[in-house]
Symmetry: D2
């Protein structure tokens, strides 16, 4: 089987997200890193790409060069990953889609709802893949939960409670730390701080597992550190199309929480709990029964959960393998065997609509508002 | 030391709360069960009281009899516990206070804000103790957290997140089960279901630990089982007088949660987490430091935490001993050595104000409303 | 129901075990503290007993006085608790049994096997109760596990792994601390340090749950702090009469473990795990199935587990209530309704045999030895 | 940087260990899968290798072919992984070392002590790397613990307690299941069942973290399922060269344990605990202080722990990345920048000596025996 050619934009030396994508793309041997425009400093980017094994003529100085260079090659890249600063995702993703490339875009896919709608349209028109990296949805046990809901194992979902709260921005003394400050500055981060950063992961997860979409939201945003213009703590109540009640709390000042992303799903005939820091288990409680510990890799799981698990039961699999699972699904889709579960541009669009609607709701004192983007209404 | 005489109203044979109070009052040898009107069936109540060692002439048929019988005795009871159905708490508590008795009232203290205000006034006028059984506040490690906040150990409190969510009313088939149904029927339960039952424990806990009071609330109530008129799932956002942001979720349909009452407190320089199902530990994270496991009984805790712990470190102490700690504090207060930390009528009043304000806010679509009762404004 | 009269020897002011017994005896209203010889300082003991509500003429200066004073009274005590230094348990227990009193003796019941055998004989001859305070066996979920094994729910028990290891004697600088030092000094502690202190709890637990007895042992003892003559860390392999393999580790230098007493039982068709620091749950795994969390207070438990649980599911119950359960069983037995599950003199004797046999095995380099006392062979 | 060429023997289609090695070798982009003899069925092996991207002329039918084919190439493989059945490790490893290849051998490295000694000698003579895949030692937090001990952070190590116990062979009905049966059949598994399979991982871990070696052992082996000739449950007491006391329990009939490999290390001034199912944390308790949760990725960890961690704090990293860390270290060593922490042939030899000595000790009734191989004495 010939390997697929993969290109990356952003993710240069010292970035956090770069290695995660490279491990994810390379671990299963489906992709070769064939091209890259890895850094906003063109020379550094070219050098680093070559250090990673990219041929000199495909180690590009910027994404425009890369688009030009790749689009006419016979062996052009089969997939490009966009891992640049958030505000650039839109234009890069759009340009590559329009030129016939499959794209995996980091979240948030865009900064505005309008941009999100455009990506959805362009993606549709192009016939190409536009995936968004809500990678938590690719953990085997998350797929298992989604499958259980779809099977009716817990009945109609009544309530979803999800948190994505950490304490890494809890130091007021970090006000001038550029790695933290930009997140709460509208000039750089847009309309939302913590909700746009982490909350949308949690909201996507709720939709993904429930197999349903958020319809209305009511939000309460707070900036608990005075110098911050954007929220560092937010509570979002929501209702899904099917009536499910949602509670979503996200915070960056929750000292003591590390990667505090978890979800509880309560249905008519069962409840489930999953913690991103222990992603290989699901606590499942059937109505009237005891809580059971479901383990990744145990017998009898769904095909999705089994397919995406790599080592035996209770050998932990972590974040890099969740990212790798996104690439597994993309490789299959590119090769014409789509699994269909990876997040796409419509997910990216819904997130943007949620961000902007929550901001508006919070400003209006928690008023309930419709969060469905027009394009998907 | 002569023992104190104790009387009980309600808590008859087969009740859940009766044994908890008896263990609590008796375990430390401070109280003797001297009088009781234990059952709405007078004869059964008299018989059960005598079975528990109460003298025949103090085994009363109802609370009015008990009030008459006790008020003229030289050895009259030093404290009466009111553990009757919720709707009767007000009149019984009021009558005993007015006749010069110290009272420990089960929660909710009253059904309306007006009643709550009257109890506060009567209690004040009487000079007697009116305590309310928010017994979770008497766990040693809860006292420790309160002490840490008061000491400034975690700085100003930014955010409190508390949940009191279980799944014991999650079976739609229980619609006709009288032990469950009444809770969601306004004719019996009043204006609120789950929030009035469990939510007020969580809200009291937030105030108790923070040393601050709830000022404004915004609520979202849901009845996830169609036949229920009152909410079985509620989210309350709040702000405290000092600006602390609050997130309170309570549910009775959260399948898999048992006694899911927990609280997280996030301050400027530290965070803490406590779980009612593992009440002997606090997870404490200082800003910039590692999470530490604080243990009940460890060296260096506050006097309050040490005083209320009974057995050595890591020998677990549970719910009965938390109730007992309320009685320890009441015995001391009756004997003129008040510790002052037990919850009182003003706490009971604030809970009622919170219930009614949250109901109103939820009906109005989550509008923020002032929850401070006029009497305490 | 007239209350039972209870007396206590030892457990004076400042002792740890005294309050545990008083809470245990008083919490359920079955016993009145009627007599006491609480302190080796006669005057302090008399004063403290009266402070606890004992009449002046039953506040004794020592156990001999108490025996003389009580044995001729019409209202003599129905049960005496012996909570004195270990080396005195034998003579006091023997004397009270011989004079027709029921006795609850703290562990270890005796210092030698011969003494243990004598207590068993005296107890039998007297027709009185001689209980030994292996109180962990009275936790509801421990009774449940015993019941499950007896029911064959996990099949024949293949392996039991139990640890009772803490770190509270892990400071070499404590060499001169009298609260620690005596434990490792043969002149005060006898032939064994940590195994005699904590290990025998674990070994009793194994037997109690398995419904089987230890037959042979092979031990490895270590004194990890050089100044200690007796062991502070011990591993005991054992075989039970029915063939069950046992692994018992006990240590007092295990820094980071607090009250690290836990047990795992592995049978042909299921496994179970219980932790003394979270005593209200059992992790149960049926062969071929998922691990389930069993909760104290859940529906469907055995009568024993239900009878000894006092508050609703997931309201934690702790060590004081386990001690109280021993007193509940003793009250019932005294009143002629024995439940039979409380530990008795034969358990105390078996522990002594285990201690002395393990000491001998360890000295002989781990040689397997028979640990069944002659009297019970 | 030119990539290193990697070859694999064994690990064919459907094997568990094959994918773990491929993910490990490929994830970081250091290695290209250049050659393989993946299956005992030559044709299947050749086909599968090509499917994985190996050129047809380097897709070999067996290891002998591969050795012949590779040894004369200019671009010969830089590293060969041996992941064949246990009994073949010795001859393959030896042959490749003798022909100048670097080798990563699966455990157990050999079946006998004599073979182990020979590999050590051949490896030394060849000047080539002979690593053994004790991959748990490559978790970042395991490296951190090793570093802490080396730094004296917990003082001299007094006691190590380690378990590697699961329940996956607990079904007596599996007696005829070939995937299970061979493990307990001396004809296929050699002298030891569970200890040789899992116990040696635990023993290596103890040595690795302590920076010390096992000197003497005393073992108790049991076959709890009657049809098994070799042990399925074993307890090994040991002493290290520096005096550390060891307790190692391993079982395959521990129903309810999944991948139950954990270790506790108790020193003079601190204790640590690590669980392989939650490998990203260490519980650390300094003498006199509280237990702290150390997190992979937190600030201030050792260079080793930081270097081998790939994603941000509390983003879990699992087993595949631990294997990958072995390959990271090997790549560095091959490129002349050795880190030196990967396990080598002497570790493999010590394991064999431990296996054979424990078997002898258990047969002799737990007698203490010297476990140091002559070559390393």
């Amino acid at each position: 089987m010939a390997k697929l050619n993969w290109g990356m934009i952003g993710g240069g030396e010292g970035s956090q997200i770069g290695p995660a994508h490279r491990m994810g793309a390379l671990a299963d041997g489906n992709f070769t890193l064939a091209a890259g425009a890895l850094d906003h400093d063109a020379e550094k980017g070219r050098a680093y790409a070559q250090q990673l094994g990219v041929a000199a003529d495909r180690a590009y100085g910027n994404w425009q060069e890369m688009l030009e260079g790749e689009k006419t090659r016979d062996d052009k890249i089969d997939l490009v990953t966009v891992a640049t600063p958030n505000s650039t995702h839109f234009e890069i993703t759009k340009a590559f889609l329009e030129n016939g490339f499959n794209v995996l875009c980091e979240k948030p896919m865009t900064m505005t709802v309008e941009e999100g709608e455009e990506i959805v349209k362009v993606s549709k028109a192009s016939g190409k893949i536009c995936a968004v990296n809500y990678c938590y949805s690719a953990y085997p046990m998350v797929r298992e939960m989604r499958n259980m809901v779809a099977n009716g194992d817990i009945g109609k979902v009544r309530v979803i409670v999800t948190n994505f709260s950490h304490g890494h921005h809890g130091d007021a003394g970090d006000a001038d730390n550029p790695r933290v400050r930009w997140r709460y500055d509208p000039a750089m981060a847009g309309v939302s701080g913590q909700f746009a950063d982490c909350g949308i992961h949690a909201m996507h997860m709720a939709s993904f597992i429930a197999g349903d979409e958020v319809k209305e939201v009511s939000a309460d945003f707070a900036s608990t550190i005075a110098s911050r213009e954007l929220e560092d703590d937010a509570m979002v109540n929501f209702r899904m199309e099917g009536g499910t009640v949602g509670r979503l709390w996200t915070s960056s000042v929750a000292l003591g929480r590390q990667h505090g992303f978890d979800i509880q799903i309560f249905g008519e005939t069962g409840g489930m709990k999953w913690l991103s820091e222990q992603p290989n288990q699901v606590m499942y409680t059937p109505l009237g029964g005891r809580t059971q510990i479901m383990e990744k890799g145990e017998g009898g799981l769904s095909d999705e959960a089994s397919r995406l698990s790599r080592v035996a039961i209770a050998h932990p699999e972590g974040f890099p393998m969740a990212v790798a699972n996104i690439y597994v699904d993309l490789a299959a889709a590119i090769q014409g065997k789509p699994h269909g579960a990876y997040p796409t541009a419509t997910d990216g669009l819904r997130s943007m609509a949620a961000v902007h609607t929550c901001v508006a709701s919070a400003k209006a004192g928690g008023v309930w508002m419709n969060a469905v983007p027009d394009l998907l209404a």
